[in-house]
């Protein structure tokens, strides 16, 4: 339930607010990354923090992704929580050893004596020629690995609430922000506001089909549900929020109600979170499924740069609605709308290139 008395903030301001409140609550917490105190402040998500907390707690970093991740781990072991940030997830591939071999395993491999409370903000790119190496969404990789938590918020309130939970969670959390959601506005409670990790949000109720989605596919799924309502089809739309741990209970309940599942994924489908949800649904609710479940996500190739080639690349409300019609064996189909603006920007606020 959105608290409509709470101030309206953009996603990016909500992130900033979450960090700010957390840094007040925890006087040792640090915040860093390349550009953390530069004029752009990571798309504004760190505005004013360097001034407020000083260079010891908010600072710029070398382009040394591996070490900077290990350094967050070490600081965490010493009781210094951190939020580190990478302007694109793709850059963070340099830090996989630290994330997987150290952060995800430290608590386990030392018998539970120390945990690693770190948050790693990864920004996901799309469109405006982001191309093959500035647009990957590897949440399925992270979801594969025990020891990690993986958060993918879709609105401003959750961005703040999940981020604050992530910061104060004793485990390493990968926090993935879609660039196209940065200007999404919602009512964001002030102060210490936390949304629990590991809980999916049912954003819309309907008995005909379950749509699960994360990140920028959530608004598309909601749009699809509205379009489908016009045809008399009612959708459960589930925002997974956290893809590890997955809130199976919520997804399960919905599937048992609707008997139909379309799992949406903002990344490649092979070995994906969508695969996992479909697999769980079939293993556990086989007899309750009324038709074959489906997945929709990125086509199985890198994102090309060309404006032309990114048309229709990602699932859209229309393509989702069409998948649903197909599953329900309805003849209707929606045209992928030309839309008011170009397909490769989230809105007029996005002034390319990043």
């Amino acid at each position: 339930m959105p608290d409509t008395s709470a101030p309206q903030l953009t996603f990016v301001d909500a992130v900033r607010d979450g960090i700010d409140v957390a840094m007040q609550l925890d006087p040792h917490m640090v915040c860093y990354g390349l550009g953390a105190d530069d004029p752009k402040r990571i798309f504004g998500s760190m505005s004013g923090l360097a001034e407020k907390y000083g260079n010891t707690r908010v600072f710029d970093a070398p382009t040394s992704e591996a070490a900077m991740t290990g350094i967050a781990i070490g600081a965490a072991l010493r009781g210094v929580r951190s939020v580190t940030v990478h302007q694109r997830l793709d850059f963070f591939l340099l830090a996989m050893d630290q994330l997987i071999n150290n952060a995800a395993k430290w608590h386990f491999m030392f018998g539970g004596q120390r945990s690693v409370p770190i948050v790693i903000r990864l920004i996901l790119g799309r469109g405006w020629g982001q191309g093959p190496t500035h647009s990957q969404s590897l949440h399925s990789w992270f979801a594969h690995v025990p020891g990690l938590k993986v958060v993918m918020p879709t609105n401003a309130a959750d961005a703040k609430g999940l981020l604050m939970s992530a910061i104060f969670d004793p485990n390493p959390v990968v926090f993935m922000e879609h660039r196209w959601l940065h200007q999404a506005v919602s009512n964001v409670p002030v102060g210490d506001y936390r949304v629990p990790l590991g809980r999916a949000h049912v954003l819309r109720q309907g008995g005909d089909i379950t749509l699960t989605a994360m990140s920028f596919l959530v608004p598309e799924a909601l749009r699809a549900a509205t379009m489908l309502e016009g045809l008399g089809i009612k959708c459960d739309v589930i925002d997974l929020c956290t893809v590890r741990p997955l809130d199976w209970e919520t997804v399960s309940k919905s599937i048992l109600k609707t008997g139909r599942l379309l799992a949406l994924d903002s990344g490649w489908l092979t070995c994906s979170v969508a695969s996992e949800i479909v697999a769980l649904a079939c293993e556990r609710h086989f007899r309750s499924l009324r038709c074959a479940p489906r997945r929709a996500g990125m086509p199985d190739h890198p994102e090309p740069t060309s404006f032309e080639l990114t048309k229709g690349l990602h699932p859209s409300a229309e393509s989702i609605a069409n998948d649903v019609c197909d599953m329900l064996e309805l003849p209707q189909r929606f045209e992928i709308a030309a839309g008011s603006g170009p397909h490769d920007v989230p809105g007029a606020w996005f002034k390319g290139p990043f």
């Binding site: 390349l34 550009g35 530069d38 004029p39 752009k40 600072f59 710029d60 970093a61 070398p62 382009t63 040394s64 992704e65 591996a66 070490a67 793709d90 850059f91 591939l93 340099l94 405006w128 020629g129 982001q130 191309g131 093959p132 190496t133 500035h134 086509p299 199985d300 190739h301 890198p302 090309p304 740069t305 060309s306 404006f307 032309e308 080639l309 048309k311 229709g312 690349l313 170009p342 490769d344 390319g352 290139p353 990043f354």
Partner: protein, 325 residues
């Protein structure tokens, strides 16, 4: 006097810088129209290094580069039309529209590719050099990099291996003192000299003014000759400066992240102005020559933009092509 690119070496250097400058200026001018829909990292201000280095390489020598590769691609001889078509996302683009500004390639001139991840072409360049050596070729591989890439562990690993195996590779580092908006002294120890650091890794190395194209080409030529003769890997550091914003077509000095005096000092040392001044007494050079070059290049650039604009999109049906060879 013949039209087009001059034969005289020093004139050629100036011409090449001017051409790159004019291409980049045209991109900056046209970019706001939103047809070149990909991040662009312009090299205005850094032409001296790019042209000086590339002019010391043979066409058969290899090069790899970074996100900021326009000048390197063009200086190495990369095709202008296909370059612009790439920025426009067209099928005639040098990467068939798949890569955009950050992924340039022209195999016909040994430009083996530029990529968008900082440091990621460093080991690739070392591998190219190893490949050349194993095949018994006399090629040298030039790896363009920035001062930010120096911070990536893979730089250090790549340089170490190049020394261990004595590979024919030249690291050409354009130190423009910034990585995005971050000055080098918040990322690297104060007072560090990159060339001293890399000497300790085991490379032969030296540091130079990157805005004096004649100096750049002379020192690079000597280095390339030594490397080709089996002298082992080297790193040359060139101090230079980017004029426009890190990414995009606009100046951004309003943001105040670079001291005004610093900006002014570097702009006063525009590599094109520096070279022009040095050529004052050159018989083949004059304001007239410069003006003719400008109009010739303008025509070439206009034609290349026209080509890129008119070129066909890659077919939607080919979107999933090239995932596997």
């Amino acid at each position: 006097m013949t039209a087009g690119r001059p034969n005289d070496p020093s004139l050629k250097l100036l011409y090449d810088m001017l051409r790159i400058r004019m291409v980049e200026e045209a991109i900056a001018r046209e970019y706001p129209k939103g047809e070149m829909r990909c991040p662009v990292h312009l090299s205005i201000g850094q032409e001296g290094a790019a042209v000086g280095i590339a002019s010391a390489l043979e066409t058969t020598d290899l090069a790899v580069s970074t996100h900021r590769a326009h000048a390197h691609y063009l200086a190495k001889g990369g095709d202008l039309k296909r370059f612009l078509a790439e920025l426009f996302g067209k099928d005639a683009g040098c990467s068939r529209g798949r890569g955009g500004s950050m992924h340039l390639i022209d195999l016909s001139v040994g430009f083996e590719g530029s990529t968008a991840i900082v440091g990621s072409t460093l080991p690739v360049g070392v591998g190219l050099a190893m490949g050349s050596k194993i095949r018994g070729e006399k090629t040298v591989t030039c790896i363009f990099l920035g001062d930010g890439a120096i911070e990536e562990g893979v730089f250090y690993e790549s340089a170490n291996f190049a020394v261990v195996r004595n590979l024919p590779v030249l690291f050409a580092c354009e130190n423009n003192s910034y990585s995005v908006y971050s000055p080098i002294n918040v990322r690297q120890p104060k007072g560090r000299k990159i060339h001293e650091l890399v000497r300790a890794i085991g490379l032969k190395t030296s540091s130079h003014d990157g805005n004096d194209v004649g100096g750049v080409t002379a020192v690079t030529r000597a280095a390339v000759a030594e490397i080709r003769a089996g002298g082992g890997p080297m790193l040359l550091e060139f101090a230079t400066y980017r004029w426009l914003e890190h990414c995009g077509p606009y100046p951004d000095d309003n943001l105040g992240y670079r001291p005004e005096a610093e900006v002014a000092a570097w702009k006063a040392r525009d590599p094109i102005v520096v070279a022009s001044a040095q050529l004052a007494d050159h018989p083949g050079f004059s304001a007239d020559v410069m003006a003719r070059w400008r109009s010739e290049i303008e025509a070439e650039v206009d034609a290349a933009f026209a080509f890129a604009r008119a070129a066909a999109w890659p077919a939607q049906t080919t979107r999933a092509d090239f995932v596997y060879a």
